[in-house]
Symmetry: C2
Subunit: 198 residues, 2 copies
DNA sequence: GAAAACGACTAACGAATGTTAGTATATTAC
DNA sequence: GTAATATACTAACATTCGTTAGTCGTTTTC
């Protein structure tokens, strides 16, 4: 069998991980076998192990690549000079765009991280918790400055993050509105729900 | 081994399904084995088959029990005399309450339905689509009457349904606010995001 | 052009999977 | 009390699982 094509998407390992993301998104991590993945890649199952060390490693790569990207983004936003609403808006726009353009990996990271094993599982959970606390803190600040209505900040975070993950349905939809329009609609509903009524 | 206790939760089959919902929620359908479930129930794996015909049947029971409940509820709400905002609010309150009080089953139905097999899979997907269209229609009506701001109704539905499913995180949270408070916060953010600004 | 590295293959492993068959015991119905 | 039903058990089945070992051709390196 010919070798894995690697001209476009980086290394052969990258190709495997990319195909795995698609597969895991579609069937879930546990229901996806290494033989399924091999077929997707166009190779025998055993050959995959020339590039990766285990099925679990693939999930780790996907999850932490996504987590790191989000973590460094929120840090940049939070350190920039904007008011709280604008920070939340920027964070949400990033979520929507990532969900639209890197759907498979972001989705897998969001839904399949439970199948990570320690110490990666604990590590991921910590990052996730930290990220949410950071968002909640931005909202708290906004409440104190009167920009944001008085609500439970963790609840607001929870709503916004899960709302964005609903873009999964948008991807599956037949007649979908454009990505830009989706982004504007999402932001309009979520941000207006936050803003203090005055 | 002693028989499955069935005094409290209905038939023995009900006990199995209830334990399965907890297990599927925690580990996912595919990663939960019949031997896992058997241990949870306190019985050997083969014994489960005196009460259910397959692993798949358990998932079917969970999914359709939940789907039917939501479907009949939205029908009742939609046929009642309220304005559109009040209808959406009633639907969302039901979602929040179900997610709080019947967490395991609602969660499993929402996240694991992909593992249903035809014809149940198609059936479930149809019900899901119908439900969302019904919600979207309520919102469309609200827009036409000026109660609701001009947004893409399917997007609004998608946001609200996924936002509610975020209650999963609330369940896992250590220091959680009360269920009533959670409900009020959710409604405040989501409904205010819908209402027309006038 | 020889040596080294890469990456595909076949074959097989032990473990785990959902499920069935057959049997024994406890509960229920008459 | 006896017959029938319900429900537990042990043992085993055919598959599928992730993964390893060993081999051989191809590509890269110098």
């Amino acid at each position: 069998m010919s070798k894995i094509k690697s001209n476009k998407n980086g290394t052969r390992k990258d190709v495997i991980i990319s195909k795995a993301a698609r597969l895991f998104r579609e069937k879930g991590y546990s229901a996806s076998s290494m033989r399924d993945l091999a077929e997707e890649v166009g190779v025998e199952a055993a050959s995959l192990y020339n590039h990766i060390s285990s099925k679990s490693e693939i999930l780790q790569e996907i999850c932490f690549k996504v987590a790191n990207k989000f973590m460094s983004h929120i840090e940049a936003i939070d350190n920039s000079p904007r008011d709280s609403i604008a920070k939340i808006e920027a964070v949400l726009r990033f979520h929507v765009q990532q969900m639209i353009h890197h759907y498979e990996e972001v989705y897998v990271s969001d839904r399949e991280w439970k199948h990570l094993v320690d110490p990666y599982l604990s590590n991921y959970q910590n990052q996730r918790r930290t990220y949410r606390q950071r968002m909640a803190q931005i909202i708290e600040n906004g409440i104190q400055k009167g920009e944001i209505k008085i609500i439970d900040a963790p609840t607001a975070v929870l709503i916004m993050l899960h709302a964005v993950s609903g873009i999964e349905s948008w991807h599956r939809s037949k007649k979908k509105i454009s990505g830009e329009l989706l982004e504007e609609n999402m932001l309009m509903i979520l941000i207006d729900g936050l803003r203090s009524n005055k």
